[in-house]
């Protein structure tokens, strides 16, 4: 886990998330304060950020990279970054907005997918220069 990457991803997702949520609120004609949407996105993203850091630390301690259990690594990541992520998003949304989640589910899904894609590209931005070292040295 690269902590700078994770922090960068966290900040970008908070900014994208707040824009998307505000757009959705305007579309729906809701008159919630900007603070409400900020609370929602900050609560959700911070919780996921902390869970991710804890999970990575635990996995690094428990799983040996050459262990055969390493096959479970992508499945554990999927459970946390996708299923728990969406579940918590929906729960916090219900708690903050007290509205039906059916339509907002798409916004949560979009934010989660953007996060996953962004993390992949940030991952390659770090990995490719590292790999290029092998090429030159």
């Amino acid at each position: 886990m690269n902590i700078i990457n994770e922090l960068l991803s966290y900040i970008i997702i908070v900014i994208i998330g707040i824009i998307l949520i505000n757009w959705y609120e305007r579309k729906k004609g809701w008159d919630y304060r900007f603070r409400t949407s900020l609370y929602f996105i900050l609560c959700w993203r911070t919780l996921i950020f902390l869970i991710l850091i804890m999970m990575n630390l635990i996995l690094d301690l428990v799983l040996d990279p050459f262990s055969q259990i390493y096959i479970l690594y992508p499945i554990i990541i999927l459970m946390v970054t996708f299923i728990v992520n969406i579940f918590l998003g929906v729960k916090i949304y219900k708690f903050v907005y007290k509205q039906k989640t059916q339509e907002f589910f798409v916004i949560i899904l979009i934010i989660v997918i953007i996060e996953m894609i962004l993390e992949s590209f940030l991952f390659y931005i770090v990995l490719i220069p590292e790999a290029l070292k092998w090429l030159y040295y």
């Binding site: 299923i83 059916q102 589910f105 798409v106 997918i113 894609i117 992949s120 390659y124 490719i128 092998w134």
Partner: protein, 482 residues
């Protein structure tokens, strides 16, 4: 006005035909689910084959060979290149088939042409290996046989063009135990038995493909084989053929007369071989018993189905919408896991490795778990009722790219997309893990990977964008559903 009404009623009652098979609304929905799964999943398979395997050949294997070919065996390049090419061709064919089916189903109402040739009508029964099956079941056999033909040809060409692989499922049936951790076989058997097995499966699929097109008019008083019976028969038949090959290998290696006929020096029978022979015969008898039992698993042609009110899955009440979503997701995952399982099974066969054994243990219950809702929903014409209920409920229409979607089709698009989101997020994580392990290792690292992995990530991202667009467009179809 009157003419317009007549035309509309004709178009509504006119049924879709696929490969001349007349389809009901529920069968059309099933084919739509299958085609959508193909359209969304095959681009990724193609991308993997092109950007990982083909690029590996072009930018790693080929340059290495051109620099120093002295240590490589004859035909090394062909053996490395053709399996990739075959996989790309097969995936492309299935992708085109999926697009063809999708266009045919979604554009059906706008097309005003008569189907050329003879239509295979709904109200008929087919005699397939002595089993009396319905039109819907014959469609299932047709689809399975078509997939089986492609799979067999692919396996045949791969084994022919890549003879170094070995230890495949078919070859593992030729290895007979001779002692503790000791097996024996003969080159004649290893070369010919897998070939004979593939030819048998190919011929069976071809026979099925042709037989299911012929049928007799339906007689309501006569019973037909039920879905479980049909599945048991297919599985037992496949295992029976494989076990027959193993018995043949036993006889060829340990029976003097057989061995001399084949020109093999026979081995002396031993307790390990005897034990294996008895075990094989026992399994063969079980398969035969199951095949015979499947002849007695029958249902009436018109059986009253349960209403959706008393229809549950794992204690969850299944409304028509939920049932359709569950069916689509279960079909998606059963295809994904079965394909994965068969690939591992045919590739590694009886190899006693941790990963292979882990897959064998995990994947079978997963496949059965996926089959459970499918079997439940398709049982007793429940699916027909589900589609009818959805069609009769609140009207909903939407556009997806240039296609107009009805309510049922929208729910199908939505459910397949929801299932695919999880799958593609998993593929994204898997690809990143794979990239990390290869790019950080100086021995496995190759320059082309710096391009391949990001490109595959871009393709997965594009597919995810299309999936989210589909969800956004079709989500209102389940709004206010009761």
């Amino acid at each position: 006005m009157e003419v317009k009404d007549k035309q509309e009623s004709y178009l509504n009652t006119s049924r879709i035909t696929l490969a001349r098979f007349e389809l009901t609304r529920s069968q059309t929905s099933l084919f739509l689910i299958l085609s959508l799964i193909g359209i969304f999943m095959l681009p990724f398979t193609l991308a993997e084959d092109v950007f990982l395997n083909l690029f590996q050949f072009l930018f790693s294997i080929l340059p290495d060979y051109l620099i120093d070919s002295s240590h490589r065996p004859e035909g090394y390049l062909i053996f490395s290149f053709f399996p990739i090419l075959i996989r790309i061709i097969v995936s492309t064919i299935f992708l085109f088939l999926s697009i063809y089916v999708l266009r045919k189903i979604l554009r059906h109402k706008n097309v005003k042409h008569k189907v050329k040739g003879k239509i295979i009508q709904q109200n008929r029964t087919v005699n397939w290996f002595g089993l009396r099956i319905s039109h819907g079941q014959s469609l299932f056999i047709f689809s399975i046989s078509l997939a089986g033909i492609f799979f067999t040809i692919q396996q045949f060409l791969e084994s022919l063009l890549y003879p170094f692989s070995g230890f495949g499922l078919l070859e593992s049936f030729c290895w007979i135990p001779e002692g503790p951790n000791q097996t024996t076989s003969h080159v004649i058997l290893l070369n010919n038995v897998p070939l004979a097995l593939m030819a048998t499966f190919f011929l069976l699929c071809l026979y099925s493909l042709l037989t299911v097109r012929r049928g007799k008019p339906m007689n309501p008083s006569k019973k037909i084989t039920n879905n479980y019976g049909l599945l048991i028969f297919i599985a037992s038949l496949a295992v029976l053929i494989l076990l027959s090959a193993r018995i043949f290998c036993h006889l060829a290696l340990f029976n003097n007369e057989f061995a001399s006929l084949l020109g093999i020096s026979s081995n002396a029978p031993n307790p390990y071989q005897n034990e294996d022979f008895i075990r094989t015969i026992s399994f063969l008898c079980i398969c035969l018993a199951l095949m015979i039992a499947s002849f007695f698993l029958k249902d009436k042609i018109y059986k009253e189905s349960k209403t959706s009110d008393d229809f549950t899955w794992l204690h969850v009440k299944l409304t028509p919408h939920r049932a359709l979503i569950l069916l689509s997701v279960a079909l998606l995952y059963i295809i994904f896991f079965t394909n994965y399982y068969l690939t591992i099974l045919f590739l590694y066969g009886g190899v006693d490795e941790f990963y292979v054994n882990l897959y064998y243990i995990i994947l079978i219950p997963v496949i059965l778990f996926c089959y459970y809702p499918i079997g439940k929903i398709l049982k007793n014409r429940r699916f027909d009722n589900i589609i009818e209920n959805i069609e009769n409920s609140r009207e909903f229409k939407t556009n997806w790219f240039k296609f107009h979607l009805s309510k049922t089709n929208s729910i199908i698009f939505l459910s397949v997309s929801i299932g695919l989101v999880g799958l593609y997020i998993y593929q994204l994580i898997l690809m990143n893990t794979y990239a990390q392990s290869l790019l950080q290792d100086s021995y496995s690292f190759k320059a082309y990977m710096l391009f391949s992995f990001p490109v595959i990530t871009v393709i997965i991202s594009l597919l995810l964008v299309v999936i989210v667009y589909t969800i956004k467009k079709t989500l209102p179809s389940i709004k206010f559903s009761k």
